[in-house]
Every structure is written in structure tokens, then in C-alpha cells.
């Protein structure tokens, strides 16, 4: 028994030693087309959350992306090929996201969208070493320094820079005023805070800030705190439910303070809750995409497509435009890589894209410099129950504050 064992062990060791080598077997065999590219289709990955903490957002965005891709494919596709979306649901789980990334990477040219900032952070290193051009479904300016990641629009910090400037321009606040920023613990809020801090210093405003936990739903403490500090306006980088709480708490105390929210602070559903009145009267929203249902050709084609397809379980809101815009911007970059549909080709095309045009849905996007924001302007809107997406544009064109051009994102040092 013992001898047999020893013999087996020895054979195995020798066998293992013979089997090892530091040379790859055969040639490298790099083909002309990249992974996921065939004669008539290009497969693109889509890693999102359809069953976890932010699945609401994930579903709406995906519906918007599908609307765009269906229309594109019906019109013949891109580079003579149809787009095939490879959708995977990570359920906001980091471990699962890594596993699904590894499952899909060999079969896709790139990722249109990766939702969830912890998931993106965890995959950042792999994305860079695999040279997979990946669209981030988030607007954190820290992401900009990843060479293979694209951000679809103006980052959170610049949204706040523009927003504060706008309030000052319109004389809603004045120099020397105190403004209070209620922000999320995490990348969304903390990145927005970078912008509000910088802009407040630049514009001669005093900034008070308070962090909230994503799970908190009652904002009484924060609002009272800001009122005690004499804030003349509130800035929010929070969830829509928290926005509702801020609006109703402040107005019920008779404090009709203007509220400036960025990006994901608003949902049209808020206008059917008891907080509808205060939200309508106090909220200003800054984001870099056209609101859903705006009276503009770029937004109208989405409304038309949505009403025709009527995707199940999804209501018409900003997230539809987000999903559409991501797919459209990614496709525009892809178009520039038609000559060489490889990972390197797409990477090159991304950095050669200085003016990605989505018909005004997003500002013109410039991806040429790693670390620099692709755009610096925002649309300013206010809640309006009469509009299909619940938002009315205040600025016909993009609003870009004078100081926004001087702002440097963390990646620009």
C-alpha cells in the first residue's frame, strides 16, 4: 500500500514537471475580428442589476437600451452588423458581478453598460487589463481616470458646479449665502460634494454639508440642522424617496427653501405621493440628459418608440432616456471602429472620439482625454405633472456655467 502510494506520487511529480512550461502552445492565432464579432452580429455585454438593491433603475435603463438597439437593428444595425445584447443580472452582488464578467468577457467586444459603483470598482482592474471598452452606468468623475471606461455625460461634481451657478445666476441665492448639501455616503454623494465644495468657494458661498445613509428615509434631522445653520438653499445628492422627505419636512415647517437635486434625485412617481406639492414647488433638477418627454426631436423619438413598444412593467421616466443615451453613445463610438472591430480598435476609436453626437439627448461627448469629463454642461428642469416624464426644461439649450470650464476632476489632479 505504502510503496504503491510512493510510486504513484513519484510518477505524478515527474509527469507534472514534464507537463509544465512557460511557453504558450502553438501560435497565438490572433484573428482579424475581436471577441463577439461575427460576419453579421456584434455581441455587447450589459451587466446590470435586475433582482437586487437597485434593480428598479436597472430595469428601466435596460428597457431604454433595448428600445434603441431594436430601432438600430431594424434600420440595418451598425458596421453592417446587428447588435446583440448579452444581458446579465448581478443582483448588486460583487462576487456575482465578477463571475458574470468572466463568463461574458470572452464572448463580447465590450460592455455597453455596467451598473453599480461597487461592482465597477471591483472590476476596474480587470477591465483595464482586458482592454474592454466599458460604459459606466454612473457619473462619478473618479471613473474617468480608467482608460477603458466611458461616462455618458457630465459627472456628478460638474452637475453641482453648474447647479449652484444657475441658482446664483437666477438670483435664487446670492453671494455670501449659506447652502446646505445633503449627500449620500458613497460615490454618488461624495463626488457631488467635491463639486459643490469647489463651486461654493469659487462663487463666494458658504457650504454646510451632512452625510446621509442610503437606508435612511426620514430627513427631519438633516433638514432641521440646515435650517438652524441658516441655509438659503438645499443641495441634494440622494434617492428620490429622500428628496420627498426633504421637501415635505421643510415645507411643513413653513420653510419653502429651494432644493437643487442632481441626477438621480427625482422620479415622476414622486408627483403622485403626498410630497408632490412641495417637490413641485421647491425642486430644481440638474442632469446632462434631456428629460423624458421633452419637446425636442431627440427626446420625441424616444417617446414615440416607448409608446409603440410599451415595455412591460416599466413606466416612462428619465431612466428610459439614460438607457437609450448609453446605447446610442456607445454605438456612435463603435461606428468609428468599423474598420477594425477588435478590442484595440474600439479602444482607439474611443480615444479618437471628440464629438460623439446623440442628437442633443446628451451634450456632445469628448472622450479623447483620459481623466477629463466628456462634457461640462447640464439641463436644468423642474417637476411638472403635466409632462409625460414629470419634468419641464427651464433651459432650452444646455446650461454651462462660466466656472465649469475651470473645474478639474480628481483625475485631472
Amino acid at each position: 500500500m505504502r510503496r504503491a502510494l510512493r510510486l504513484t506520487a513519484a510518477t505524478l511529480t515527474i509527469g507534472a514537471a514534464l507537463a509544465c512550461s512557460t511557453q504558450p502552445p502553438g501560435g497565438s492565432g490572433a484573428g482579424a475580428a475581436g471577441p463577439g464579432v461575427t460576419a453579421d452580429a456584434i455581441s455587447l455585454g450589459y451587466l446590470t442589476d435586475l433582482s437586487g438593491a437597485i434593480s428598479g433603475q436597472g430595469r428601466v435603463n435596460l428597457a431604454g437600451t433595448r428600445l434603441y438597439v431594436d430601432r438600430l437593428n431594424a434600420a440595418g444595425g451598425v458596421c453592417g452588423r446587428k447588435i446583440k445584447l448579452v444581458v446579465e443580472d448581478h443582483g448588486y452582488d460583487v462576487q456575482k458581478a465578477i463571475s458574470l464578467y468572466q463568463k461574458t468577457t470572452p464572448n463580447v467586444l465590450g460592455y455597453v453598460s455596467l451598473l453599480g459603483s461597487p461592482q465597477l470598482e471591483a472590476l476596474k482592474g480587470r477591465i483595464t487589463s482586458d482592454h474592454v471598452v466599458t460604459g459606466a452606468q454612473g457619473w462619478d468623475s473618479h471613473i474617468l481616470s480608467n482608460p477603458d471606461t466611458l461616462v455618458y455625460g457630465t459627472p456628478y461634481d460638474l452637475e453641482m458646479v453648474n447647479g449652484l451657478s444657475y441658482l446664483l445666476d437666477k438670483k435664487i441665492i446670492k453671494r455670501g449665502d449659506t447652502v446646505g448639501h445633503i449627500y449620500w455616503q458613497g460615490s454618488y454623494g461624495e463626488d457631488a460634494l467635491l463639486g459643490s465644495k469647489w463651486a461654493a468657494a469659487k462663487l463666494g458661498l458658504k457650504l454646510a454639508s451632512v452625510q446621509v445613509d442610503p437606508a435612511e428615509s426620514d430627513m427631519t434631522r438633516q433638514v432641521r440642522g440646515m435650517q438652524a445653520k441658516g441655509a438659503k438653499a438645499l443641495l441634494l445628492s440622494t434617492l428620490p424617496t429622500q428628496t420627498a422627505s426633504v421637501a415635505s419636512v421643510s415645507s411643513s415647517a413653513g420653510w419653502k427653501v429651494p432644493i437643487l437635486g442632481n441626477n438621480a434625485t427625482f422620479l415622476p412617481q414622486l408627483l403622485t405621493t403626498p410630497a408632490a406639492g412641495p417637490v413641485r414647488d421647491q425642486l430644481y433638477l440638474v442632469t446632462s440628459r434631456l428629460p423624458y418627454g421633452s419637446d425636442d426631436p431627440a427626446a420625441r423619438r424616444i417617446t414615440t418608440a416607448f409608446e409603440k413598444a410599451k415595455p412591460k412593467g416599466v413606466s416612462p421616466e428619465d431612466g428610459i432616456n439614460v438607457g437609450w443615451a448609453t446605447a446610442e453613445a456607445y454605438t456612435e463610438v463603435l461606428k468609428r471602429a468599423c474598420g477594425s472591430l477588435t478590442r484595440q480598435g474600439l479602444e482607439k476609436a474611443l480615444r479618437a472620439s471628440t464629438d460623439v453626437d446623440t442628437g442633443g439627448l446628451l451634450p456632445a461627448l469628448d472622450f479623447s482625454t483620459v481623466g477629463a469629463p466628456p462634457s461640462r454642461g447640464v439641463y436644468v428642469s423642474r417637476p411638472d405633472p403635466a409632462r409625460p416624464g414629470g419634468l419641464r426644461l427651464l433651459t432650452k439649450n444646455l446650461y454651462t456655467a462660466g466656472i465649469a470650464k475651470q473645474y478639474k476632476t480628481p483625475g485631472q489632479g
Binding site: 446590470t48 433595448r66 444581458v87 443580472d89 462576487q95 463571475s99 463568463k103 470598482e121
Partner: protein, 345 residues
């Protein structure tokens, strides 16, 4: 079956066969399977620790995720550094950093153990919840160490010039490229085996008997000459050392750690592992770790093949949602079957 499995020769044979299969598996299994086993094995190390604490010494802890975080972040901070400008590193060699990170988790367990001496059962569980709260705030605010909300990169393990979890030097075995996961495979499985062996021997010793006596009756244990507080502290330290090691391994597998991962959910998942496997049972803890970690990954990978399930997001019932229902149902089924067995045994 029972007789067979108790015969030492058969057991040893099975052990050797298992080891051989494990040794060659990365050559044949796809990345997905390698990864599934690795994540589960790393979790199994943590589950072994928790089953000693909860199952054998009877101290309920909801803070297991906290000790995992100490291991993972500790290794990342103490280790060689990844060149990221946002986070600091002490630059110690990888293996030393790993040992120190595990030790740090042990020390944290020791520091907390006096609390365990004061409160019991569900109250101890609630007290340990405080650690999770503190941990979350520390992970968010101690930026140079933890990287804040963005988390931080975890350096690769470098042993005598051979990188685990990295591509250098390039290695091919039987023509198969030996990637990051294949390299970590042997480290993780060897450590799991060593941990299993160690804790099994501890439990068969005087210490193990002492712990069980403490669980069943502290008064009886004290009367029999067992130093109750010392034994309880010992269980806490052992369990947090195991959690720390699991944290280091998971960090190596993830290559980047984020604070969201180490929340209360993670601690509850570890409790689920040891409950599914049977409180206090070592093979049960390992099996539970494989079930809790592996089933969601499996459903994510193959969920689309289930009947009545649409592919993700195309309307109708999503595989991700179905996966969650199935997982919940499975836990109920396992628990019901297990409680039957316990009655009949």
C-alpha cells in the same frame, strides 16, 4: 454506509482520491467552476470558524463580516502596495502581510471577547451588531487604509518570486494556460484542508470537550474545572482568526475590495452556511459554504436554461429573480429534511 464511512482505510482512500481530483481539476474545469470552488472554499474557511463559535461554544455572532473585513483590508494595507495613489500600503512582503492581517483579526476577536463574557445568546448577537456598524463607518472614513467608498486594490500574493493571482511568470500546464485562479487554487484548497484538520483536532482535544460543556451548561463546566471565560474567549479568537483568513483569501480572489461587501448581509450569509450544514458540524460548515456561495452563482450561470424563465430583462420572469426564489426554497427544504434526520438519529 455509516460503517463504511467510519472505516479509516476507506476514509483515507476517499481523502486521497479527493485530493487527486482537486489537484488536477483546474486543468479541466472551466474558469467558472474553478472560481465557484475557490469562492466557496474561501467562504468555507470562514464558516469553519463561525461553526466553532456559534455551534460549539454557543455564542451567537453577527459580526463575522467585520472580522473578514479586517483580514481583507489588513492584508491589502500591510501588503506590497499596488501603486494606487489614493491608498497607502506598508509594503510588507505578501505572506507576512497575510499572517499579520489574520493575527489582527484574532486580536480584534480577543478585544471583543470580554463583551461575550457578559452577555449571552441573542443579546450577544445584538452586541456584535455594533461591530458591523463601527466597521462600516471605519471602512467609509479611514480613507488612506480602506479607500473609502471606492474600496482598494488588493496586491497579489508573491511567494518566492512566483505570483499567485497574476500572470507572471507565464505558466502552461499540459498546454493549458495557468491563469490567476488556477494558481490560487492550490493555495486556497491547501489552506482549507489545513484549517479543517486543525479545527478538527482542536475539537477532539480537551479544548473541544471543554467548549461543548460550556455550551451545554456553564455551571457544569465551571464545576468540572473548565475556565469558562477563557474558553469562550478562545472560541472567539479562533473564529475571528478563521474569518480573517477567509477575508485575506477573498481579497486575493476579488483583487479589489469594496466596503459594501462586508455588511450585515455577509454575516447573515455565514450564519446561513452553518445553519444549513448543521450547527457545530465541520463537514456541514464546508457543505453550507459551498451551497450558500455556489447556488446563486450556478443559478446566475445556468438559470436561463430553466423552464418558464426568460433571459435577463426581456420581460416576464427573470432568471435572477427566479434564482432568489429557488435559493429561498432550497434553504427551507434543506432545513426541513435535516430536522427530520436529527429526530430519527
Amino acid at each position: 454506509m455509516t460503517y463504511l464511512s467510519r472505516s479509516p482505510a476507506v476514509r483515507r482512500g476517499a481523502g486521497i482520491a479527493l485530493a487527486l481530483v482537486a489537484a488536477v481539476l483546474p486543468l479541466f474545469a472551466s474558469d467558472f467552476w474553478t472560481q465557484l470552488v475557490l469562492y466557496s472554499a474561501a467562504a468555507a474557511v470562514g464558516a469553519l470558524g463561525l461553526t466553532v463559535l456559534v455551534g460549539l461554544s454557543g455564542q451567537l455572532s453577527l459580526a463575522h463580516g467585520f472580522f473578514l473585513a479586517i483580514g481583507a483590508y489588513g492584508y491589502a494595507y500591510l501588503g506590497p502596495g499596488t501603486g494606487s495613489p489614493d491608498t497607502a500600503s506598508l509594503g510588507l512582503p505578501g505572506p507576512l502581510a497575510a499572517v499579520l492581517a489574520v493575527a489582527a483579526a484574532g486580536v480584534a476577536g480577543l478585544v471583543f471577547s470580554p463583551v461575550a463574557a457578559r452577555v449571552r445568546g441573542i443579546y450577544l448577537g445584538l452586541a456584535s451588531l455594533a461591530l458591523i456598524m463601527v466597521g462600516r463607518q471605519v471602512l467609509a472614513d479611514a480613507r488612506p487604509v480602506t479607500g473609502g467608498a471606492y474600496g482598494r486594490d488588493v496586491p497579489v500574493l508573491d511567494l518566492f518570486g512566483f505570483h499567485f493571482a497574476d500572470q507572471g511568470p507565464y505558466l502552461y500546464v499540459l498546454g493549458v494556460p495557468f491563469g490567476a485562479y488556477d494558481r490560487l487554487w492550490y493555495v486556497v484548497l491547501a489552506l482549507l484542508a489545513a484549517c479543517y484538520w486543525f479545527v478538527r483536532n482542536v475539537l477532539r482535544s480537551r479544548v473541544g470537550r471543554g467548549l461543548r460543556t460550556v455550551r451545554d451548561s456553564e455551571a457544569a463546566a465551571a464545576a468540572a474545572g473548565v475556565d469558562v471565560q477563557r474558553y469562550k474567549a478562545l472560541a472567539f479568537v479562533l473564529s475571528s482568526v478563521y474569518a480573517g483568513l477567509a477575508g485575506v483569501l477573498l481579497g486575493l480572489l476579488f483583487q479589489h475590495v469594496v466596503p459594501e461587501y462586508f455588511g450585515l448581509t455577509l454575516s447573515v450569509q455565514y450564519l446561513a452556511m452553518i445553519v444549513i450544514g448543521g450547527m457545530g458540524s465541520l463537514p456541514g460548515a464546508v457543505a453550507g459554504a459551498f451551497a450558500v456561495t455556489g447556488i446563486p452563482l450556478l443559478l446566475g450561470q445556468y438559470g436561463g436554461a430553466l423552464p418558464f424563465v426568460s433571459s435577463s430583462g426581456s420581460g416576464g420572469l427573470d432568471s435572477g429573480v427566479v434564482a432568489q426564489y429557488l435559493f429561498g426554497a432550497l434553504i427551507v427544504v434543506i432545513l426541513v429534511i435535516k430536522s427530520h434526520r436529527r429526530v430519527s438519529a
